[in-house]
Symmetry: C2
Subunit: 210 residues, 2 copies
């Protein structure tokens, strides 16, 4: 699941990568159109007609594949959040030294947010539009992700490899560096793999002083 050192994905490529189980071309076009609309006008500023028409379909076409507009947002939030947690777990798994594990974690986390920047932007900034039940489902994955980062930092503090003012604020800083990539990233502004290399080195220096 870890994205390789590849360029930023288009929205169609992001949907193909993140929704391997959605084989219907129409459903994929609807998801891509929804993410594009949500990223441009916000969830509340987007109608189901906007989504259908953005996919080149008749106004009610969305309902053939999704029960509601919120259902599309939920599916995007879910695969985005699950995907990045799977990616960072895989990234650390081949390493034992805390600095090596953190470096690979940050590399994978940065690469994910750069590569799937539009999808991530929607997943991060439209959370409050989810139903309370769906919000809680995503919040569980978010808390697992945050805990995973905190535990990796704690591992290095315990071994004496890392020195930080506080584990939780160091984890917030590292999470923010990666998540905020989804806000500013535009293809051409940075190369995902180079950015991921730099952020991996910067985050490691932040906690190790090297």
């Amino acid at each position: 699941m870890t994205p390789g050192p590849a360029p930023a994905a288009s929205l169609d490529e992001s949907v193909a990568a993140l929704f391997p189980d959605v084989t219907s071309d129409v459903a994929r076009r609807l998801i891509a159109s929804a993410v594009d609309c949500f990223a441009t006008r916000g969830y509340h500023g987007t109608t189901t007609r906007d989504i259908s028409e953005g996919a080149g379909l008749s106004p009610a076409a969305l309902y053939v594949h999704f029960s509601t507009k919120e259902q599309v947002l939920f599916q995007c939030s879910l695969v985005g959040h699950q995907g990045v947690l799977t990616a960072i777990r895989a990234a650390v798994s081949e390493h034992t030294a805390p600095a090596d594990r953190l470096r690979e974690l940050v590399r994978a986390f940065t690469l994910w947010h750069a590569r799937y920047h539009t999808m991530c932007r929607v997943a991060q900034y439209e959370l409050s539009a989810l139903t309370p039940e769906h919000h809680e489902t995503v919040a569980v994955i978010r808390r697992d992700t945050e805990r995973f980062v905190r535990e990796e930092i704690q591992r290095g503090v315990d071994s004496g490899d890392f020195v930080v003012p506080e584990v939780s604020s160091a984890a917030l800083a590292i999470l923010s560096m990666g998540i905020d990539v989804a806000r500013w990233f535009q293809p051409g502004r940075a190369d995902p793999a180079t950015l991921a290399d730099h952020y991996a080195a910067l985050a490691t220096a932040m906690v190790t002083g090297t």
Copy 2:
């Protein structure tokens, strides 16, 4: 202009602090209501009626004080962006050593985004709703802010105090740590002054290795 080590400001306190020239209580209530609506439902999901009614006024009350809904967003974006640039310039001004200057820059930048978190959230995430002319006005301040951070890092690289993979990606990482505070901050989740202290130490370690 640098906010002191104070707790997070309520929306009413933020408006009072950031709009000292707006002395009309009704105009301040309209700005606070607009920011609350934009932060909750997005700019495109908010009507002028929502803003007026959120301020306890009749539906058309907004137009007594602002020509359009976009004008309110622009004023908020403008004072938010101008304010933080003024704050970081003031923060570094009493120091000469690059590490001291960067530490105070990050402290002020973090404090600003924590203290005025709702205002900053709207200023950061609703930029695309501005008219092209207003967007460019704000973009000029954003570029000045980004350049200011890059120049502070370059100063330390030139003096041999800082080592980073690349000045521009280090600046992006430091800007992201602060800006992303506006996304996750909630009163009670963190103390702005403590967070600012920690981020100042973490960012300094990131570039100095200490």
